[in-house]
Symmetry: C2
Subunit: 499 residues, 2 copies
């Protein structure tokens, strides 16, 4: 019998743009989640029928959604159903609730004396978040029940993605009624989860609804044990749910516990998302990447390279990373003239004032550091703010040290991609607050992301590591990153939802 898989996520595998002449062109959706799901689905084979449900993100998307409601496909040929949600509703759900309140909450980014303020406006935004989740639940219900009428197709398994869609599992369960028994619903959260003391900043009814929403799923997945534990702690503290923690044997995938609430059991599990190492290495051999390798090598000369690659996202901690580099140059003068820091800080969420201010802060600090230490033939810091994927891969290939120091991060792909692509071995300075720290702890240099001095010292230690040690650690890290490729990550979730 053929398998059927339904994926639901805010951003889909394809998005559209209007050309200057009004024509529409599609392109692949960006981001780690899309890549992970797409690559995971690709490994399932032709006996699996997939439908991907996503939101129209722009006017161009909406135009396509209206005219091709049931006939869209992404580059890989997967049918895509794009939901035409009213722009105001989408904006409030996506920008105000998901990317402001929830993202800030789950990454613990609030400037607490001032933010958040949950007043009347937030209640209106929250209604939109509910309506947006209902649109997904309606579409999933329709797809589920349609599929169920075909006797040659197995009952579907539903994979709901991320913090945008916390309410969807419960809404779907309620809509399906008795039919839910034959259907497996999974939810996967790509972000961290906050411990109860922080989580309870949310209004009570919102705090309860989000947890209850995810508990509508049969399986709730996280990248790391730590986030799974925080989620279960919230279920116990906020909902009074019955929680049993089974614990994990190691840092890899496995069950973390179960939560019983409203007569339903949700298994909570850890599924770290690594990288498809062979595909990534192949991409790294392409001409555009090689050209950047040559250019970067010329720019750096024979100096050591410290690399970072991030969106300019508050959680990525770019400012403290630059401060650590400044402290390295100040306290270890032997590195002056002998190291270059390549900091790629790509634009992100520039619609939000906090992000614009943060970008300004990054630029100003970079200017200060160069002003402080620059010599006639040495620029200590090269800050690039224009996104360039092949150049990022080239930087990974050349880096002596990769700096990944987020305040909080659900997993972190940069650390893993860097270890896979390094050509002569690369030391990894990694925040202990990244989900990836659970799998990479043994061979990375772990740092407290708030501790600028400790980070500076870790950079020094990374720079002074012997070639042999660096290569040994780097190879071990690459093997770990390659151990949980998207196919395993997605396959593990599907397997746990039954056949």
């Amino acid at each position: 019998m053929d398998q059927r898989v339904l994926v639901a996520s805010n951003r889909g595998p394809v998005s559209y743009q209007f050309g200057a002449d009004g024509s529409l062109t599609g392109s692949r959706g960006g981001g780690g989640m899309i890549a992970g799901v797409t690559d995971g689905l690709a490994a399932l084979g032709p006996e699996t029928s997939v439908t991907w449900i996503c939101a129209a993100l722009s006017d161009a998307d909406r135009t396509v959604a209206r005219s091709h409601e049931n006939s869209l496909r992404d580059e890989a040929g997967i049918p895509v159903r794009m939901l035409d949600i009213a722009p105001g509703t989408f904006d409030r759900a996506y920008n105000n609730v998901a990317n402001s309140a929830l993202w800030f909450l789950l990454h613990q980014l609030f400037d607490t004396p001032s933010q958040p303020r949950f007043g009347r406006e937030f209640r209106r935004d929250w209604e939109s978040y509910l309506a947006y989740n209902e649109a997904f639940a309606d579409a999933l219900t329709e797809e589920t029940l349609t599929g169920a009428t075909l006797s040659s197709v197995a009952d579907p398994r539903v994979l709901v993605q991320d913090y945008h869609l916390c309410l969807t599992p419960r809404l779907l369960r309620d809509r399906l009624g008795e039919a839910v028994r034959d259907i497996g619903i999974g939810h996967f959260c790509h972000t961290p989860w906050a411990p109860p003391d922080y989580y309870r900043m949310l209004p009570d009814e919102v705090a309860r609804a989000l947890l209850d929403g995810i508990l509508g799923a049969d399986r709730a997945g996280f990248h790391a044990q730590r986030w799974a534990t925080a989620f279960m702690d919230c279920c116990a503290a906020v909902l009074g749910a019955d929680v049993s923690r089974t614990g994990l044997a190691g840092p890899g995938p496995g069950p973390a516990g179960r939560v019983t609430y409203r007569g339903h059991v949700t298994e909570v599990a850890v599924h770290p998302l690594g990288v498809d190492a062979p595909a990534l290495r192949e991409r790294g051999r392409a001409g555009d990447v090689r050209a950047h390798v040559s250019a970067l090598r010329r720019a750096a000369g024979d100096r050591k390279l410290i690399v970072r690659v991030d969106r300019t996202e508050l959680s990525k901690n770019i400012v403290r990373g630059l401060e650590a580099y400044r402290e390295l140059l100040a306290t270890r003068p032997q590195w002056r003239g002998r190291v270059v820091h390549l900091a790629f800080a790509y634009p992100s969420r520039s619609a939000l004032a906090e992000y614009r201010a943060y970008t300004d802060q990054v630029r100003e600090l970079a200017r200060q550091i160069n002003g402080e230490f620059r010599t006639e033939d040495w620029d200590p810091l090269i800050l690039e703010v224009k996104d360039d994927y092949p150049r990022s891969l080239a930087a990974y290939a050349l880096a002596d040290v990769l700096l990944v120091n987020p305040i909080k991060d659900g997993m972190n792909l940069v650390a893993q991609e860097g270890m896979v692509l390094t050509e002569r071995g690369c030391a990894l300075v990694l925040s202990r607050e990244a989900g990836a720290a659970a799998t990479l702890a043994a061979d990375a240099l772990l740092v407290n992301p708030y501790d600028v001095s400790e980070t500076a010292e870790a950079l020094h230690r990374a720079l002074t590591m012997t070639d042999a040690e660096r290569q040994r650690r780097s190879a071990a890290l690459a093997a770990t990153a390659a151990a949980d490729p998207p196919a395993r990550w997605l396959g593990g979730q599907l397997a746990s939802l039954g056949s």
Copy 2:
């Protein structure tokens, strides 16, 4: 045999000012901690000999400390030993470590994308915090060993106060050597304590040193079970100490658990600090308070009064309190013209930029609210920024509703003083994040301090409460606040340290 008690705290019971002619005058030190300790000591009786060790806070204090090293006394006649710590050391220990890093950490006030940044400067500040704690430990050692030579005086009990002096108990224990066996060392923290996930923002060595420092005491006290639990959780997570939680039977004083570390056992206990109700009521009958009662009554007319009294301290959450009042007027128009909000926001820590900016924000918001709702004969909001204790007491006497909505608060005296002084019964809208919420939960209206709408609704509910309900709740709250007066709070700690 006479008892001997040594108190150590940053701020002492007396402080000095230079007059215009260069003469020195002393006045009573301010703040809830000073009042609690002073009143607690007063109840001990003449068979107890007390010495209070504190820091010189100003040039005037330093001048006095140098010329009267061993002969200072406070208003109650208690001998005071004022430590003349170098101004730079004091400034770094007090402003940079205690009031910036530690206060922000324990109240969870950091704007995490930018603050804290623990770099080289912090390490220098931390050395000063250590030196400052060493000065206290040296003085305590001297006082302890001096006292021990008098056979008519029992071995002393030492009461170390607050987050300024976290290292002192361990330093004192180490200095005393074998002599420590006969001496009881207590530490009491008047702030909240942060759970491990937040606490671990500190550099590792600092996080360990603070906990280890307090664990040098035989008893560690907190105002509420919640902070005691967070402290013990940090001891387990950060130090790997052996922690056994005994739990409390109720919200009042009692043991919370014990921590075993480096071969020494520290009992962790809860001692809520309430108010001396008879003394407070007597103060409330004084002429200066009565004059303010009349003036405030005239200003408010027959309108309902919502009162808040706070230092303009980031943790006090004044901005969200004003937002809640604005939302009340917007969503419940029946209160327009029928209620006045008296907001007393006294100056605090104006040396710190964050506090000056916050004060500006409070003023601007107050201006907006008055601009939005003011009518010819009604000012909806009266903001007073000049400290006036008798006027505060008068406001308590008249308030129909007292708003106390801190983000986090070790205990909170305003809530308790207000309930004791109300003349016709007062409804209490209280943050669940205040330590006092543990004892006052049954009859206060508890709110999530981040939830402006919930706070607005609680204000509405408080305003619409029947006289009978308000008076019943208010009387119960006053009785609870009076149940743990300073004498009991201090006596309980001394009793637990043995005779």
